[in-house]
C-alpha cells in the first residue's frame, strides 16, 4: 500500500489508471443489485426491436397482396397483424423505457450515496488537494453522465438489433440493392465522425467567446461605482460592443456549422432514393422486384436512419460516460490514512505531549522533524510564528485531521492513534479562524455536536459567550435562519455562535485559531471576554493574532519552520529582544498603546 494513495484524481488530462478490464468488471458489479431490471430491459428491448423491425415487412406483404390481386381474406389477416404488431411494439417499448429509466435512476442514486459516504470518511489532506467544486461535480454531474451512457448503451443494442432485423429481409430480396445501400453507410459514418470533431472545436470557441462577454459584464457590474465616479460609461460600452460583436460572429459560425449535419445526411439519403429509383426501376421492369419491395427499401431506409446515427455517435459519448465512471471510482477508492484504535478515553485530564513528531504534507517537504512539546493539563498556550511555521499543522494533527508519519502524540499518556476517533473528536473543541455555520437556525447551529442540548442549555452557552441580548434583538431570536454566506449576521455574531457551540460541546481540550479579520471594537470586547470564558478550566492551544491574547496566556511557543525557537511568557520574551521581539514588531506592535501614540505625531505633523 503506497503512502499517499490519491491516484486517479488529477487534472482533466489525467491518464487512465484503471485498466479496461478492471473498469468493466467494476461497472458490471454496479449492476448486480439491478439484475432483475436489467433482464427485463434486455428482453423487452429485444422484443421491441423485433416488432418494430418487422413492421416494414408486414407493410410490404400487404402491398404485395395488392399487386398480386389475391384473396382479400389474406389481406385482412395481414392488416390485422399489422395493427397487433404496432400495438405490441408500443407496449414493449413502453416497458423497456420505463424499466430502463427506473434502473438508471436507482443505480445513480446508490452510486452517489456511496461515493458521498466514502468521501466524508476522508481526512483533511484529501479536501486540501481537491477543490470542493470538483468533488461535488464528480458526485452529482458525473453520476448523471454515467447514467446517460448506460441509457445510450441500451439504445445501442436496440440500434444493432433493429439494423440486423431490417437488413436481413433486404438482403434476401435484393442483394444488389442492399449492397448499393450499404456502400453509402460508411459515408454516413465518416461524415458524422469528422463532423463531430469540428463541431466540438467550434463549440469550444463559441463557449469561450461567450464566457469572455459574460466576464466583461460581470466586471463592469462589480466595478460600477468606479465607472460612474470616473464617468467612464461610454468607454466601457464601446469595449463591450467589441466583445459582444465578436461573440456574435463566433457563435454564429458555430451554430451555422452545427446546422449542417442533418441536411447533409438528408442529401445522402436523397442520392440513395435516386439510386433506388434507378436500379429498382430496372428490376421492376425485369420483373425481379415489385412496388412492394421498393416500398420496403424506402421505409427501411427511414427506420435505419436513427440507429445508424446512434451507432456512429456512440463511441465518443460512451467514452465520456466511462470517464465519468472512472472519476467516481477514483473518488471511492481514495484511502483515508487516519489510524485509530478502539480505546475510549473516559475522562481527559488534558496533558498533551508531542514526542519526536515527524510530519509532512507532501513527501520530501517535512513540516516537523523530531518535534517535542509538553503541555500540562489546564495550561493555556499560545503559538506564534510567521506563515508556514507550522502553527495550524500542529493543531490539525492534534485534531486527527491529518496523519503524522513518525513519532507520537499522546494525551494523558495514551497515543492518539490508539484512541477511538469519534469519541476523541467530541472531547476536543475546535474554533476555526473563520466561523463556519450551517444554513440552519441559530439554535441548531449551536447544538450541532451536542444534539441532546435543550433550549436552556443553548441560552446558557450564549450567556457565557457574551450575552443573549443580540439574539433577542433579532426578529426571530434563536429561530433566525442563517443563510449560507448570508448577511443576516455579522462576522462578530457568527464568532459568538461558534463560541457557544463549543461551550455546549464542553470539551476537555480547546484549540482556537484566532480570527484575523477585524471586527468593530464593541464586538471585539465581547469576543475577547467570551474567549476568556471559553478558555477557562481547559487545556487550551491558541494560534494567536491578538496582542491581548499573547499578553494573557501562560506560555508562548514561538515556531519557526517547525521548530521551537523561543518559549516563555510575553514579558520574558520581549525582554530577550530576540526572535519573538522581531515578530512582535511585525505583527503585534500596532495593536499596542505605544503604536497608537506614535500615530499621534504623524497626525500632528499632517495637520500642522
Amino acid at each position: 500500500m503506497s503512502k499517499m494513495g490519491y491516484f486517479g484524481l488529477g487534472e482533466e488530462g489525467y491518464d487512465r489508471i484503471y485498466k479496461d478490464r478492471e473498469l468493466f468488471v467494476r461497472i458490471v458489479k454496479l449492476f448486480k443489485p439491478h439484475r432483475r431490471s436489467m433482464l427485463i430491459v434486455i428482453i423487452f428491448l429485444t422484443l421491441s426491436s423485433i416488432t418494430y423491425g418487422l413492421t416494414p415487412l408486414i407493410m410490404r406483404s400487404i402491398i404485395r397482396q395488392l399487386e398480386s390481386k389475391s384473396n382479400p381474406y389474406f389481406l385482412i389477416i395481414f392488416i390485422g397483424n399489422a395493427f397487433i404488431l404496432n400495438s405490441l411494439g408500443y407496449l414493449f417499448n413502453y416497458v423497456n423505457r420505463r424499466q430502463g429509466n427506473r434502473m438508471v435512476y436507482r443505480l445513480c442514486y446508490n452510486l452517489r450515496r456511496q461515493t458521498n459516504m466514502r468521501v466524508l470518511e476522508q481526512d483533511l489532506s484529501f479536501f486540501d488537494k481537491y477543490p470542493t467544486g470538483r468533488i461535488v461535480s464528480r458526485i452529482n454531474s458525473d453520476g448523471q453522465k454515467f447514467g446517460g451512457s448506460v441509457t445510450m448503451f441500451t439504445e445501442l443494442i436496440t440500434a444493432f438489433l433493429t439494423l440486423f432485423i431490417v437488413i436481413i429481409p433486404l438482403i434476401i430480396i435484393s442483394p444488389i440493392l442492399t449492397g448499393v445501400f450499404m456502400a453509402l453507410v460508411p459515408l454516413v459514418f465518416i461524415f458524422t465522425l469528422s463532423f463531430r470533431k469540428v463541431s466540438r472545436k467550434k463549440s469550444m470557441y463559441g463557449q469561450r467567446s461567450l464566457a469572455q462577454v459574460n466576464a466583461f459584464v460581470q466586471e463592469s457590474m462589480a466595478g460600477i461605482q468606479i465607472i460612474k465616479n470616473f464617468r467612464q460609461e461610454k468607454t466601457q460600452f464601446e469595449a463591450f460592443q467589441a466583445i459582444n460583436n465578436q461573440s456574435f460572429k463566433v457563435n454564429m459560425s458555430r451554430a451555422l456549422f452545427l446546422n449542417i449535419l442533418f441536411p447533409s445526411l438528408d442529401l445522402i439519403i436523397a442520392v440513395l432514393y435516386a439510386i433506388l429509383v434507378f436500379f429498382g426501376g430496372n428490376f421492376i421492369i425485369q420483373g425481379v422486384l415489385s412496388g412492394a419491395d421498393i416500398y420496403l427499401f424506402l421505409q427501411s431506409s427511414l427506420i435505419l436512419f436513427q440507429p445508424l446515427l446512434q451507432i456512429a455517435g456512440f463511441w465518443s459519448e460512451f467514452q465520456e460516460g466511462l470517464a465519468a465512471a472512472e472519476r467516481i471510482f477514483a473518488l471511492q477508492d481514495s484511502q483515508s490514512y487516519i489510524k485509530q484504535g478502539n480505546f475510549v478515553l473516559e475522562e481527559i485530564q488534558g496533558k498533551i505531549e508531542f514526542k519526536n513528531l515527524g510530519f509532512e504534507y507532501v513527501p520530501g517537504k517535512p513540516v516537523f522533524k523530531k518535534f517535542n512539546l509538553v503541555i500540562q493539563p489546564g495550561e493555556t498556550v499560545a503559538i506564534v510564528g510567521h506563515t508556514g511555521a507550522g502553527k495550524s499543522s500542529l493543531t490539525k494533527i492534534l485534531l486527527r485531521l491529518y496523519e503524522f508519519q513518525s513519532g507520537d502524540v499522546q494525551i494523558d499518556g495514551h497515543s492518539i492513534r490508539d484512541i477511538s476517533l469519534r469519541e476523541f473528536r467530541q472531547r476536543i473543541g475546535f474554533i476555526p479562524q473563520t466561523p463556519f455555520l450551517w444554513a440552519d437556525t441559530i439554535e441548531n447551529n449551536i447544538t450541532y455536536g451536542a444534539l441532546n442540548a435543550t433550549r436552556d442549555d443553548v441560552l446558557w452557552a450564549l450567556r457565557q459567550s457574551g450575552g443573549t441580548e443580540w439574539v433577542e434583538n433579532l426578529d426571530e431570536g434563536l429561530n433566525t435562519f442563517i443563510l449560507e454566506r448570508g448577511k443576516v449576521l455579522s462576522m462578530g455574531q457568527r464568532q459568538l455562535i461558534v463560541f457557544a457551540r463549543v461551550l455546549l460541546q464542553n470539551p476537555s481540550i480547546l484549540i482556537l485559531d484566532e480570527a484575523t479579520a477585524s471586527v468593530d471594537p464593541f464586538t471585539e470586547i465581547q469576543i475577547q471576554e467570551a474567549m476568556e470564558h471559553v478558555m477557562e478550566g481547559r487545556t487550551t492551544i491558541v494560534i494567536a493574532h491578538r496582542l491581548t491574547t499573547v499578553r494573557n496566556v501562560d506560555r508562548i511557543i514561538v515556531l519557526d519552520h517547525g521548530m521551537i525557537v523561543e518559549e516563555g511568557n510575553h514579558r520574558e520574551l520581549l525582554n530577550k529582544d530576540g526572535y519573538y521581539a522581531r515578530l512582535y514588531n511585525t505583527y503585534f506592535k500596532h495593536q499596542s498603546y505605544e503604536f497608537m501614540e506614535e500615530m499621534k505625531s504623524k497626525r500632528m505633523q499632517e495637520t500642522s
Binding site: G89, Y90, L120, E233, V271, I285, G291, M599
Partner: protein
C-alpha cells in the same frame, strides 16, 4: 428632434447614461410579449424570418412530394415504361436534394435571427445597466444580474432556434401533407391526418401539463444536491472535528432521493408517450383504407405508396422534442426577468434648477431619518451632527448599526425620508447630482480592481502622466510594492492578472483618490486584517489621504478612532454618543471599556496620554 427623444427617454427611464435613441424603450413598457415581438421583428429580422418560413414550407413540400413521385415511378415501371427510368431518377434526385437544401437555408436564416436577437438583447441590457443609478446597483446582487445577463439572454436565442423553428416545422409537416392529400387524392382521405392532428394536439397539451411538475422537482432537487454537498465540503473541518459525518450523509441522502423519485416519475410519464402508437396505428389505418380504394380501382399501387409516404411525414411532429415548449416558456420567464431589471426605476431625481459649485466640505446632518425604499424598517433615526471642512470623522458601531448607510446618504445615493443633509449650508438635494458626485469619493470595503494595468487602475480614465501616478502611489505607500511587480506600473492586475492582497488594493484605491482629490472622502476601512505585515504602511497611507479634506472613515482601528476630530458612535441606527476621544473616554463607559481592555491600561493612564 433626435436629441429630444433621447432626453425624454433618459428622464422617463431615470437613466444616467444613454447612447442614441433606444428603439426598444416603448416596447419594454408594454410587456414581455410585445417586447419579444419587437426584437423578433426588428429591422431586417422580419425579412429574414419571412424567408425562413417560406423555406420551411418548401422543404416540407419537397420532402412530402418525394414519396408521391416515387409512387408514380413505381406505377410507370410496373406498366413497362422503361424509357422513363432516367427521367424519374433525375426528378427524384432533384426533389430529394431540394428538401435538405431548403432545410439548410431555412435553418441558416433562423440561426441568423436567433444570434442577432441574443446580441441585441445583451447590448440593450448592458446599456440599460450602465445607465442605472448607483443606488440601484447597491441593491443588486451581482450574481443575480449575471444570471439574467447570461442565461435569460441566451434563452431568447433558444426561443427562435430551435424552439420556434421546431414548432413551426412540426406545424408545417402536419399541414403540407394534408394539402397534398387534398389536391392529389380523394378528398375524404384527408380525414385521417386531420383526426390524427386533433387527437395529437389534445394529447400533447395534457402530456406537457403532466410532465411539468416532476421536471421542476427534478431540477430543484438537483440544485439541492449541489447545495448540500458544497456546504458539507466547505465546512468539512467542522464536520470532522465534531465527528458529525452521519448528519451530513443523511442530509445528502434526502436530496438525492428526491432527485431519484422525481426522475422516475418523469420517466414513467415520458415512457407512455402515446403519439408513437397513434402514429403507427394511423399509418396502418391509412394503409388499410387505401388498400380498399385500390381494390375498388380508385387508387393505383403507386398512389397507395404515395399516400403512405405522406402519412409518414407525420412522424416529424411526433418526434419533435418536448423541449421546444419548455424552451418557449423559459424564454418568456427569462424575458420577464430582464424586463424587471430594465424597467426598475431609481429613486433619485435631479431637481429643476441644480446648483453646481465647488464645495468646501462642511457637512451637517439635521434630524435625518431613513429607511431603504420599499421597506418599513428604520435604518437611521434622528441623526444630528455637524462637521467642518477638513475634519476627520470616525464612524464606529457594530454591523447593522447604519454606518454604511449614513455615508451613502452623503453622496445622495439615496434621499432621506425626513430631515436634511447640508453641504456648505445648502441642502444636497439642491446640488446637481453630477457636481456632487464629482467632488465626493468613496473607497469601498472590498476594493474592486479592474483587469487592467496598475497605471490604468489608478488613473482610470483620467488624463494623467506616469509621474503623477508615481507621485500619488508614493503618497499612498503603494509605490514600493508596485515597483516590485514584474512589469511595475504596467503589470496586469485584477481577475486575469496578478492578484493583489487586501492591503495592496486599499492603497491602490487611496492612490486613485489622490488623483481625484475630492473635497469629501468616504473611506470604508472595516475589512482590514488584524495582523497584517504592512499595517504600518496602510495606516500611514490612510493618515496621508485624510489631510486637506473632510473624511468620513468607517473603521475598527483604534489608532484612527483615537485621533479623529469627531467620533460618532452608532447603535441600531441612532447616534448613542459623539464627541472627541477625550470626551467619550470621560463620558461613555462602553467606550472606556474598549481602550481599557485592549491596552490593559487604566482610565487615568489613557487620559494622560491625551496631554
Amino acid at each position: 428632434m433626435k436629441a429630444e427623444v433621447i432626453e425624454e427617454q433618459k428622464i422617463q427611464n431615470n437613466s444616467e447614461f444613454s447612447l442614441g435613441v433606444d428603439d426598444f424603450f416603448k416596447a419594454r413598457q408594454k410587456g414581455v410579449r410585445i417586447w419579444i415581438m419587437k426584437h423578433i421583428l426588428y429591422k431586417s429580422n422580419k425579412y429574414i424570418l419571412a424567408l425562413f418560413f417560406i423555406l420551411v414550407i418548401l422543404a416540407s413540400y419537397f420532402g412530402s412530394i418525394l414519396f408521391v413521385i416515387i409512387g408514380k415511378a413505381v406505377d410507370a415501371f410496373s406498366t413497362g415504361h422503361s424509357d422513363l427510368i432516367i427521367n424519374y431518377t433525375i426528378i427524384v434526385l432533384l426533389v430529394g436534394l431540394g428538401a435538405p437544401i431548403s432545410g439548410l437555408l431555412s435553418r441558416t436564416f433562423r440561426e441568423i435571427v436567433a444570434q442577432k436577437i441574443e446580441r441585441d438583447t445583451r447590448r440593450e441590457f448592458y446599456l440599460n445597466l450602465l445607465g442605472k443609478s448607483q443606488s440601484f446597483h447597491d441593491n443588486q446582487r451581482i450574481g443575480d444580474i449575471m444570471a439574467r445577463a447570461t442565461n435569460d439572454v441566451r434563452f431568447l436565442n433558444f426561443l427562435i432556434s430551435p424552439a420556434i423553428g421546431m414548432l413551426f416545422d412540426a406545424a408545417v409537416n402536419l399541414i403540407v401533407p394534408m394539402y397534398l392529400i387534398i389536391v392529389g387524392y380523394p378528398l375524404e382521405l384527408v380525414i385521417i391526418p386531420v383526426v390524427f392532428s386533433v387527437i395529437f394536439i389534445a394529447y400533447l397539451r395534457k402530456f406537457l401539463k403532466k410532465l411539468a411538475p416532476p421536471s421542476l422537482s427534478r431540477r430543484i432537487a438537483f440544485g439541492e444536491m449541489n447545495t448540500v454537498l458544497n456546504e458539507s465540503f466547505d465546512g468539512i473541518e467542522i464536520v470532522k472535528s465534531m465527528a458529525q459525518e452521519e448528519q451530513n450523509v443523511e442530509k445528502y441522502k434526502d436530496s438525492a432521493m428526491s432527485y431519484r423519485d422525481a426522475g422516475i416519475e418523469a420517466g414513467d410519464i415520458q415512457a407512455k408517450y402515446l403519439p408513437i402508437l397513434l402514429l403507427s396505428l394511423t399509418i396502418t389505418l391509412g394503409l388499410t383504407i387505401s388498400v380498399f380504394y385500390n381494390k375498388a380501382g380508385v387508387l393505383t399501387v403507386g398512389q397507395v405508396l404515395g399516400f403512405i409516404g405522406l402519412l409518414l411525414r407525420l412522424r416529424f411532429p411526433v418526434n419533435a422534442s418536448n423541449r421546444a415548449f419548455m424552451m418557449v416558456q423559459e424564454a418568456i420567464i427569462g424575458a420577464g426577468r430582464l424586463l424587471e431589471t430594465m424597467n426598475a426605476k431609481s429613486e433619485i431625481f435631479n431637481n429643476d434648477d441644480p446648483i453646481s459649485k465647488k464645495i468646501e466640505g462642511n457637512v451637517t446632518f439635521e434630524n435625518v431619518n431613513f429607511s431603504y425604499p420599499g421597506t418599513q424598517n428604520k435604518v437611521l433615526k434622528n441623526i444630528n451632527f455637524e462637521v467642518s471642512k477638513g475634519q476627520t470623522i470616525a464612524i464606529v458601531g457594530t454591523t447593522g448599526s447604519g454606518k454604511t448607510t449614513l455615508t451613502k446618504l452623503i453622496s445622495r445615493l439615496y434621499d432621506v425620508n425626513n430631515g436634511r443633509i447640508l453641504i456648505d449650508g445648502i441642502d444636497i438635494r439642491n446640488y446637481s447630482l453630477q457636481s456632487l458626485r464629482d467632488q465626493i469619493a468613496y473607497i469601498e470595503q472590498d476594493i474592486f480592481i479592474f483587469s487592467d494595468s496598475i497605471f490604468d487602475n489608478i488613473s482610470f480614465g483620467r488624463d494623467t502622466s506616469m509621474e503623477q501616478v508615481i507621485a500619488v502611489s508614493q503618497e499612498a505607500q503603494a509605490h514600493e510594492f508596485i515597483n516590485d511587480l514584474p512589469e511595475k506600473y504596467d503589470t496586469e492586475v485584477g481577475e486575469r492578472g496578478v492578484q493583489l492582497s487586501g492591503g495592496e488594493r486599499q492603497r491602490v484605491a487611496i492612490a486613485r483618490a489622490f488623483i481625484t482629490d475630492p473635497k469629501i472622502l468616504i473611506l470604508d476601512d472595516s475589512s482590514s486584517a488584524i495582523d497584517s505585515e504592512t499595517e504600518e504602511r496602510i495606516q500611514e497611507a490612510i493618515f496621508r489621504i485624510l489631510h486637506g479634506r473632510t473624511t468620513f472613515i468607517i473603521t475598527h482601528r483604534l489608532s484612527q478612532i483615537r485621533w479623529a476630530d469627531l467620533i460618532i458612535v452608532l447603535k441600531h441606527g441612532e447616534i448613542v454618543n459623539q464627541g472627541s476621544h477625550e470626551y467619550l473616554l470621560k463620558n461613555s463607559p462602553e467606550y472606556q471599556k474598549i481602550f481599557v481592555k485592549r491596552f490593559d491600561k487604566t482610565l487615568n493612564e489613557l487620559l494622560e496620554g491625551e496631554n
